[in-house]
Amino acid sequence: MNIKLLNEALAASRSGKAAALATNLKTGQQSLIQGTEVTGNLPVTDVVMAAITRCWDRDENDSVMTGEGKIFIEIFNPRLRMLIVGAVHIAQPLARMAALTGYLVTIIDPRSAFASTERFPDVTINSDWPDDAMKALKPDRRTAVVTVTHDPKLDDPGLAEALRSDAFYIGALGSRKTHGRRLDRLRELGFTDEQMARIHGPVGLKLGAISPAEIAISIMAEVTQVLRAPVEQAKAERAAAKAASREAAE
């Protein structure tokens, strides 16, 4: 790879915009594609562009056979983000684990005593009210939102805005009883049961977690499952359909 192209790929990856790197595995020719803009020495034909679009949609890398050789397509989708409402104890291990998993983490808490940089080094802290913060940060389909304050006046506005967004995961810490009352309050704000079904509450996979770090594990496990399991299932279904059509052809 040309160092100039490598730096551009790095910048593209950091920018958070969708980009793709196409490489001819035989010749080593490469191009970086951002939207309709192409940089590099690999000609991007319609066939290659169609494959890139498919990869972006499926959020996976793939390769495509052409007359000039096999072209590998590596996509740079925007970074995964996690927005945590509440700079409470549990947020400390959760922020660290999420960062380790590749998420850009923002902790939202208007209470400055909680959201101090001493308690949360290396994490972006947003001290706006949760609904304002959510409106500014605009959770998208690569964003997980987790509320952990236990305080309705902080959690509820955050959850309400999350429900109006495309966030792929919404989780709320609290017991089954707490969650029931939370749903009642959200219902009063006009949310339907179907809409509220997006909220994972009580948050996390049932691991019998006790300590804050263990609870963070159960949350990260559930977030990962929600993100990856459907993609894995679709892959398995495509493979099964391919096998079936091959069998039918024989």
Binding site: L6, A9, T23, R79
Partner: protein, 109 residues
Amino acid sequence: MESAGDNEQILGQAAKWRGEGKGVALATVVSTWGSSPRPSGSKLVIADDGAFLGSVSGGCVEGAVIEEGLKAIKDGQVRVLSFGVTDERAWEVGLACGGKIDVFVEPVA
């Protein structure tokens, strides 16, 4: 897809080593079959002083990939390496998991 964070770190390291005047090669998993340990897009960066960062497998084929990376730095050529249990060198650098992977190795010039 490989998590963007990991690959950003590896591309960043490649740029840094290159900036320091080192010879650098990049290895990327470009195909996987069966139960391969690292997904397509996983990267490993190799410097000509033998330093490396990242992974393309669970550790079973890294040695061979680094060796080819050092060759790529010297001859400036790209190559595709295939690893799997059917490989004749399987006993040496095969994947214990029974999967199969192709790794693209390229010099960073």
